[in-house]
């Protein structure tokens, strides 16, 4: 990602082939290859898993997934700039005529609220504060899930503790399957159909992660405290959350552990069918 090569001509080859020699390319698209825009583009610039450096004007929107955006002299965006899961680098105000959005980054929005430019490095206290607040949001979600799913959650925790290896394997396969399904849907179905389906797949993944993480908190807490009675569940949830959340704050190891827990969580949710009972008994 960090290697910035002038590959835009390669990426824009189909557009250039049909355009007049003097006209700017209508649109530039790249997947997995970093891009340098060194000539004006009359349309949009779209990139996935690639960084984009803008050294010329782009008339339309610039949308980047999983990559960084930087500006060189002459770099300018006439439309909106959206960076999903990446960083926006600019010395000073980025020359964007439309809206600059970094969806998914609460930190940058908060800094903007505090009249601090989103592209400036934040003070470390702010980062730590937002991390603690993010953990607080997780705990609030945990309390809500336990309150409303007081049978499904302990059932899932009990079953996940019986088969943690299977849950981990299910997590890996679930994430791969959801990712492939979303990619196939987005690439092969028409946009009016593919976008809602892809968003639905994303929502399912988020629901699985939330349910699974709360189940993990409960499972860890119950294992460590040895208390499984209904009235002791909230305390067990708090204990499990404190341990996993505390580990997540450790530099380097924390994000790795949290990521592994997230994979396991998705597996727990699917392998227990969100805590559905294994058998249903009909009483005549």
């Amino acid at each position: 990602m960090k290697r910035l090569a002038p590959l835009w001509l390669l990426a824009a080859a189909p557009a250039l082939a049909s355009a007049a020699p003097v006209s700017a390319p209508s649109s530039v698209t790249t997947f997995g290859r970093d891009l340098v825009i060194s000539q004006p583009v009359s349309g949009r610039v779209l990139a996935a898993f690639a960084s984009v450096r803008l050294e010329a004007r782009v008339e339309g929107d610039v949308v980047v997934w999983g990559g960084d955006v930087s500006f060189g002299p002459g770099g300018e965006v006439g439309g909106n700039l959206s960076v999903f899961g990446g960083t926006l680098r600019a010395s000073g105000t980025p020359p964007v005529h439309g809206v600059v959005s970094t969806p998914g980054s609460l930190l940058r929005l908060y800094l903007a609220e505090m009249k601090r430019a989103p592209w400036e490095a934040p003070p470390s206290a702010t980062v730590w504060g937002l991390r603690l607040l993010a953990l607080a949001a997780w705990l609030a979600a945990g309390i809500a899930v336990l309150f409303f799913f007081d049978t499904k959650l302990p059932r899932a925790a009990e079953r996940a503790s019986e088969t943690p290896t299977i849950a981990l394997l299910a997590g890996v396969l679930s994430i791969v399957t959801l990712f492939l399904a979303a990619a196939a849907v987005l690439a092969l179905l028409p946009p009016p159909l593919s976008v809602p389906v892809a968003l639905f797949v994303g929502a399912v993944a988020v629901a699985a992660k939330v349910f699974g993480m709360v189940t993990l908190f409960l499972m860890i807490g119950q294992r460590l405290s040895g208390r499984v009675a209904a009235r002791q569940r909230p305390a067990a949830l708090a204990l499990g959350f404190a341990i996993l959340g505390g580990v997540s704050l450790v530099p380097l190891a924390g994000p790795l552990v949290w990521s592994l827990a997230s994979v396991l969580a998705v597996g727990v949710a699917f392998s227990t069918r969100f805590g559905a009972p294994r058998y249903r008994v009909a009483i005549a």
Partner: protein
């Protein structure tokens, strides 16, 4: 609905079915003998007890059944609304929220503004609420157009076909693992 005007208490039905003395109604035994509806209730309870006994004798009841039932028991009404039951997570939530707000308050609280530290913290908290609201709005607004852009990128590459080719293998593997996980005792 029972046809009997003086139906037996469920406790007495269980007691009669198991051959014990009734607890609520002293003449329960005589009443069950004379009342068809209550007699049927006792017979049904006796039949159910026989079935449960047969299962237990066959060794089909796992030794940890009682423990497992307790594990998945839902909250009682009193437990669900009891502050004492929820004290630990709520206190932890308050501590995390408070510590986080104080830490991010440092962004707006500068040395000359220390007099108004409370105001600075409030400003930070308000900024956080606004940012969270904007984050949700931004995400919901950008997600469809972002997904459409991603769709356009993927269309220009063979990634979609590759994903479609790999999808059945991954889905079959997942199905096998899930069915194994769900069937496992």
């Amino acid at each position: 609905m029972s046809d009997c005007s003086r139906p037996l208490d469920p406790l007495d039905v269980e007691a009669l079915a198991s051959g014990a003395e009734p607890l609520v109604q002293e003449d329960a035994s005589r009443h069950a003998a004379s009342c068809a509806a209550c007699g049927a209730s006792v017979a049904q309870a006796r039949s159910l007890e026989g079935l449960i006994g047969a299962v237990a004798r066959a060794g089909a009841v796992p030794p940890d059944l009682a423990d497992r039932v307790l594990r998945v028991r839902p909250f009682s009404r009193a437990e669900r609304w009891s502050p004492a039951v929820w004290r630990a997570p709520v206190l932890l939530l308050a501590a995390l929220g408070g510590a986080g707000t104080v830490l991010i308050g440092g962004v707006s609280a500068r040395p000359r503004e220390q007099v108004g530290l409370g105001a600075a913290l409030l400003a930070s908290a308000a900024g956080l609420v606004r940012a969270s609201w904007r984050w949700l709005a931004d995400l919901s607004q950008a997600a469809p157009s972002g997904a459409a852009a991603l769709s356009e990128i993927l269309r220009a590459t063979p990634a979609g076909w590759a994903a479609l080719l790999l999808l059945p293998a991954a889905a079959l593997g997942l199905r096998r693992v899930l069915s194994r996980a769900f069937a496992r005792r």
